[in-house]
């Protein structure tokens, strides 16, 4: 694979992951547990969608087939999507959503920090902008994991269960970050440290590493993605070629 193609693939993986996760978060609109959280989670979703737009635009340019960010978002089949499996998981309850967010944010934060020094100017630029946002996302999601982990018996049970269910999807995070071309990004250990620190304050046990689910970043998805995209892409599919 040429370097340009490898970078295009990486940008696609980053863009798709941000898009799908942002989309999932936006599903909470009007249903959050408290009004202040409505605003907070919308901010995170907006940031992720903005990042998706940047990554997908870059991917389209590098690919050189004339596809815009919207073309990529709205006209590809699920098997052409390169997002992390973690991103496409269902929201579940608020605790489930925040655990998913925290595991992702911790990784995204470390990765973007490293990417600020990437030799490709556009990658560094995107990383620079996204870093500031993701630092805040991590502050929020880690705060909630601690709050819910060390809250009531019920909240402890719920986030503990979420952690067990989502843990198998974390292995793929490091396959993605390691696949970044023209850089050597190894963030597993630091991620574990960060996650361990938060889980301890949350009085939660770190799950065992049994089996790491994989395939999302290569286009092998769960049944969830097809339904998500069917909804997301419905208007463009129903009115091919129309402008909005």
């Amino acid at each position: 694979m040429s370097e340009s193609a490898a970078l295009a693939e990486f940008a696609l993986r980053m863009g798709d992951s941000a898009l799908i996760l942002g989309h999932r978060l936006s599903e909470w609109t009007g249903h959050a547990p408290v009004l202040e959280e409505e605003l907070a989670s919308a901010n995170v979703a907006l940031d992720l969608l903005g990042q998706a737009q940047l990554w997908l635009s870059l991917a389209g340019e590098l690919e050189g087939r004339g596809r815009s960010a919207d073309d990529l978002a709205y006209l590809r089949e699920p098997s052409a999507y390169r997002n992390l499996l973690l991103a496409e998981q269902l929201n579940g309850d608020f605790g489930h959503t925040l655990v998913r967010q925290f595991l992702f944010d911790a990784w995204n934060h470390l990765l973007l920090d490293a990417l600020c020094a990437h030799p490709h100017a556009r990658v560094a630029e995107i990383a620079e902008k996204a870093s500031k946002e993701v630092r805040y996302h991590l502050e929020r999601s880690s705060d909630w994991v601690v709050r819910l982990g060390d809250g009531t018996d019920e909240s402890h049970r719920r986030v503990g269960a979420a952690l067990e269910i989502l843990w198998p999807y974390t292995g793929e995070l490091f396959v993605l970050s390691a696949s970044c071309p023209a850089a050597t990004i190894v963030i597993d250990a630091r991620w574990r440290e960060l996650v361990d620190m938060v889980l301890q304050r949350a009085t939660l046990d770190m799950p065992n590493d049994e089996w790491a689910q994989s395939g999302g970043i290569d286009g092998r998805h769960t049944e969830h993605l097809g339904k998500l995209l069917a909804e997301m892409q419905s208007l463009q599919r129903a009115y091919p070629g129309a402008s909005w």
Partner: protein, 335 residues
């Protein structure tokens, strides 16, 4: 409007001589355009009316997130998706500012939420209609926000300080809402035949409910006079409705759509548009709970609140644990 038919608890507007000295002085402050603030003396009826009006306005913003939120996952471009999400987020924010303002009058947010869920408090009739197509999202921005703005701008100078200040903040953020909707519709009007059909079909369904937002005709509106005397309402229902129609008809013409009113015609003598009869039976039926979406809207809000109780409880429990471990600071400051 968002606050429709707000009861004032006053049967007849009293003449100045009939007011107590305290009430006279209170009225004099209002007439002199001096703001009433939370710790000032105010007639009980004024306080209660404001609580009803502000909380109804807040509930409308929150419930209003649902018909628009309905299309976030199906927005047809990334740009439109982000714009819609930002708009709905703003609405949540406006609800929050308004609950805040109402709380200065001595009622808690949870009590207001309970009133909404039990049906004791109302929200604007318009949000009981479904958003069935992408064009509906444009209609909500253009017509519903358009109608709301008519009342929000003058409310920035209403008599109650916290309410006026909340309205100033809201109006600043509102600037893009109506334009967002209209811009969406312009794109459809310049699009394919199917998109133009979608546009026309949507206005056929939204026009009359939008006119009903302004409330019943003045002749049937018993509370307007007192509210206007207290400067918490600045226009009569019919005045608002007429102004809205006059402003909107040319906008509809630009879009190349037909408003579904055969009696709509410019009256040169009056200097206004004449318009057809509104079906007030539909309006009252919707207020009584028989609109297309009343049940769904309320149960969505109720479910969000009850299913989120464990989260709010956990946050409180955590705060208590942390406070027990070390004394909490009275004031938290950043930078």
């Amino acid at each position: 409007m968002y606050a429709q038919m707000v009861k004032t608890g006053v049967d007849r507007v009293a003449e100045r001589e009939q007011l107590s000295p305290q009430e006279q002085e209170f009225q004099a402050r209002i007439d002199a355009d001096v703001r009433i603030e939370p710790r000032d003396w105010m007639p009980d009826a004024y306080r209660k009316t404001l609580i009803r009006q502000i909380s109804q306005h807040a509930h409308s913003e929150i419930v209003g997130m649902l018909p628009e939120g309905n299309w976030i996952t199906r927005a047809p471009t990334l740009e439109r998706k982000m714009i819609l999400l930002a708009k709905v987020q703003d609405e949540g924010g406006h609800g929050l500012y308004l609950y805040s303002a109402a709380e200065t009058l001595g009622i808690g947010r949870d009590e207001m939420i309970d009133q909404l869920h039990s049906g004791r408090a109302k929200y604007s009739s318009i949000f009981n209609y479904p958003t069935l197509s992408w064009a509906d999202i444009g209609m909500v921005g253009w017509l519903v926000d358009g109608a709301a703005i008519m009342n929000q701008v003058p409310l920035q100078r209403c008599s109650y300080g916290p309410y006026a200040r909340a309205m100033v903040r809201i109006c600043k953020e509102e600037s893009f809402h109506q334009r967002q909707g209209y811009d969406l519709l312009i794109a459809l009007s310049k699009g394919t035949d199917a998109q133009r059909e979608m546009l026309q079909e949507a206005v056929n369904r939204w026009w009359w409910p939008a006119l009903m937002m302004f409330g019943p005709p003045d002749a049937d509106s018993v509370h307007s006079e007192q509210s206007m005397r207290w400067n918490i309402k600045q226009m009569t229902n019919d005045e608002g409705r007429q102004r809205f129609i006059d402003q909107t008809v040319p906008q509809a013409e630009y879009l190349g759509i037909q408003l579904p009113d055969p009696d709509l015609a410019w009256n040169a003598e009056r200097g206004h548009y004449d318009y057809g009869a509104i079906d007030w039976d539909e309006f009252y039926a919707v207020l009584r709970g028989h609109g297309p979406c009343n049940r769904e809207r309320l149960s969505a809000r109720f479910d969000a609140h009850t299913q989120g109780a464990w989260v709010r409880e956990a946050a409180l429990a955590h705060a208590a644990k942390a406070a027990a471990r070390e004394p909490a600071a009275g004031v938290q400051a950043s930078a």
